[in-house]
């Protein structure tokens, strides 16, 4: 479990996060949603330690990352897997080398064992047959799946995904969402997904935090999103006329 307590962060005098407190549960797909510029990426970066918050604490199963020494933080990061918005695969390496990289860096296993683990991860994301291709030879969806394979190679306890569906078509987005959700449940890890894809919110959101202007504005699950009376949340999630009508129809069926 990751517990965020009273986190605030400002850049050049402009406050981006206002006193956010939230718990991200173990074995669940936790989502952070909000408009562009609402502060969700800053929150995610603060949680993973890329930004040092101005105040507040972030606990990884009781371990406070904000007061950790550099060495302790480095050790903690080995328990973290991260999927970046642009995949962030290493251009000069093949898919297999990318997935093997964290194992090569931190694992004491033999080459044969490391390769077997990497192949298992590549198989898990259905990319067998592409292991000797470079990132430039892979499609956007394949790159995202490759990045997931690299993120889970070290069997992380915490998985972070920054806008995993950006730039992907709806069908591929569903594949990525399903993969993230399955991996979370299979390995019982704490997953935090930063997204503004409404299909993800409804599809895999087990614990959703809605951020508005840097403050926590709502928290619940995907079913509660449909029935919530929070105007800011509804304006964001059901922004189009079509989705507003869809929500009305669903609510009418529920009642």
């Amino acid at each position: 479990m990751i517990a965020v307590e009273n986190i605030s962060k400002s850049f050049d005098g402009r406050q981006v996060l206002h006193d956010i407190s939230v718990e991200f549960l173990n074995g669940r797909t936790n989502l952070i949603i909000g408009q562009s510029g609402s502060g969700k990426t800053v929150l995610l970066n603060s949680i993973v330690g890329l930004h040092q918050p101005d105040s507040g604490h972030i606990y990884y199963d009781g371990r406070d990352i904000t007061v950790m020494s550099k060495k302790e933080r480095t050790m903690l990061r080995r328990e973290i897997g991260m999927l970046f918005q642009g995949s962030a695969l290493f251009d000069s390496m093949t898919l297999l080398e990318n997935v093997m990289f964290p194992l090569d860096m931190f694992s004491d296993k033999s080459y044969k064992e490391r390769k077997a683990r990497a192949m298992l991860c590549i198989d898990r994301v259905n990319l067998l047959g592409s292991e000797y291709k470079h990132p430039a030879e892979l499609s956007g969806g394949m790159q995202k799946r490759a990045a997931i394979a690299r993120a889970i190679a070290m069997e992380p306890r915490y998985l972070f995904c920054d806008e995993p569906n950006s730039g992907l078509d709806p069908k591929t987005s569903l594949v990525i969402d399903k993969l993230i959700s399955e991996i979370t449940h299979e390995n019982n890890i704490t997953t935090i997904v930063n997204t503004h894809d409404m299909n993800s919110v409804i599809g895999i959101g087990e614990n959703i935090l809605f951020i508005n202007n840097g403050a926590a504005a709502w928290q619940g699950n995907s079913k509660e999103v449909l029935t919530s009376n929070n105007k800011m949340l509804n304006d964001f999630v059901f922004a189009s006329e079509f989705s507003k009508q869809l929500r009305q129809d669903i609510l009418a069926n529920i009642h």
């Binding site: 990061r77 973290i80 962030a88 290493f90 251009d91 964290p102 090569d104 931190f106």
Partner: protein, 247 residues
């Protein structure tokens, strides 16, 4: 402006402090070191040989046609060619050329890694990204530069011989006499020592510019240009001090 320069110096020193740390995995360091040796060293051999060959030939022709006269000994052209190649061209001028080729390559490679979040990915994994990316580049270039200096001096002399054998501008005997006249081995080592400093400047300063890129592809281009300009200026300034110190 002074404040900005001091800030940049501080950032550079902090980056170097992170860079010069024990690699997390020696096998990964050696793998990167070998890769960088190929990319920065071996791949530069061709351009170094080509430029040195022609510059050696041109120096020999210029000295023979414009400096040498009846009251000068016949070995002056060969002697001057050797001294220029060993003392300045093969170290300082060649490193200025390498600053353009290798420096821009390093800055744009690391800069692109920065803007595509590859460096963030390394940091998140718990890898010391500065040490993983920059240390092998510095080590590879510094350890390969003596070979490039040697090749450059040799190619310059071959170029000079081309003017003797192919263009008949100077006799091979006069050239050989000049090349052997008052040979001081220290001059060669001076060039090698200077080039070690220049190689460090090229690899570390270019890495600094690449590592601190913020923005997109335009900023990567600017960082690449800044890296080449800064490396060139630093090489020229340090050349004065090193020449004074080692002479």
């Amino acid at each position: 402006m002074i404040r900005k320069m001091l800030q940049s110096l501080g950032e550079y020193l902090l980056l170097m402090a992170r860079t010069f740390q024990r690699p997390e995995r020696m096998r990964m360091f050696l793998k990167q070191y070998y890769k960088e040796m190929m990319a920065l060293g071996i791949n530069s051999v061709g351009i170094v040989l080509l430029i040195s060959l022609f510059i050696g030939a041109v120096i020999c022709i210029q000295i023979k046609l414009n400096i040498q006269s009846a009251w000068m000994p016949s070995w002056v052209s060969g002697y001057t060619t050797r001294e220029i190649m060993m003392l300045e061209f093969s170290s300082a001028i060649m490193c200025l050329i390498l600053a353009g080729k290798v420096g821009s390559n390093i800055a744009s490679e690391i800069g692109t890694m920065r803007i595509t979040q590859q460096i963030d990915a390394l940091d998140i994994m718990g890898v010391n990204s500065a040490s993983y990316l920059i240390l092998p580049k510095v080590a590879a270039l510094v350890s390969f530069i003596p070979i490039l200096v040697t090749f450059s001096v040799a190619a310059g002399i071959v170029g000079a011989y081309c003017t003797a054998y192919l263009a008949n501008i100077i006799t091979p005997a006069d050239l050989t006499l000049g090349l052997q006249h008052s040979f001081t081995p220290w001059y060669f080592w001076m060039g090698v020592i200077k080039s070690l400093f220049f190689a460090f400047i090229i690899a570390s300063v270019s890495s600094y510019y690449g590592y601190n890129v913020k923005g997109g592809s335009i900023e990567v281009g600017k960082a690449s240009t800044s890296a080449v300009v800064s490396c060139s200026v630093l090489i020229l300034f340090s050349d004065i001090f090193l020449t004074q110190l080692l002479s």
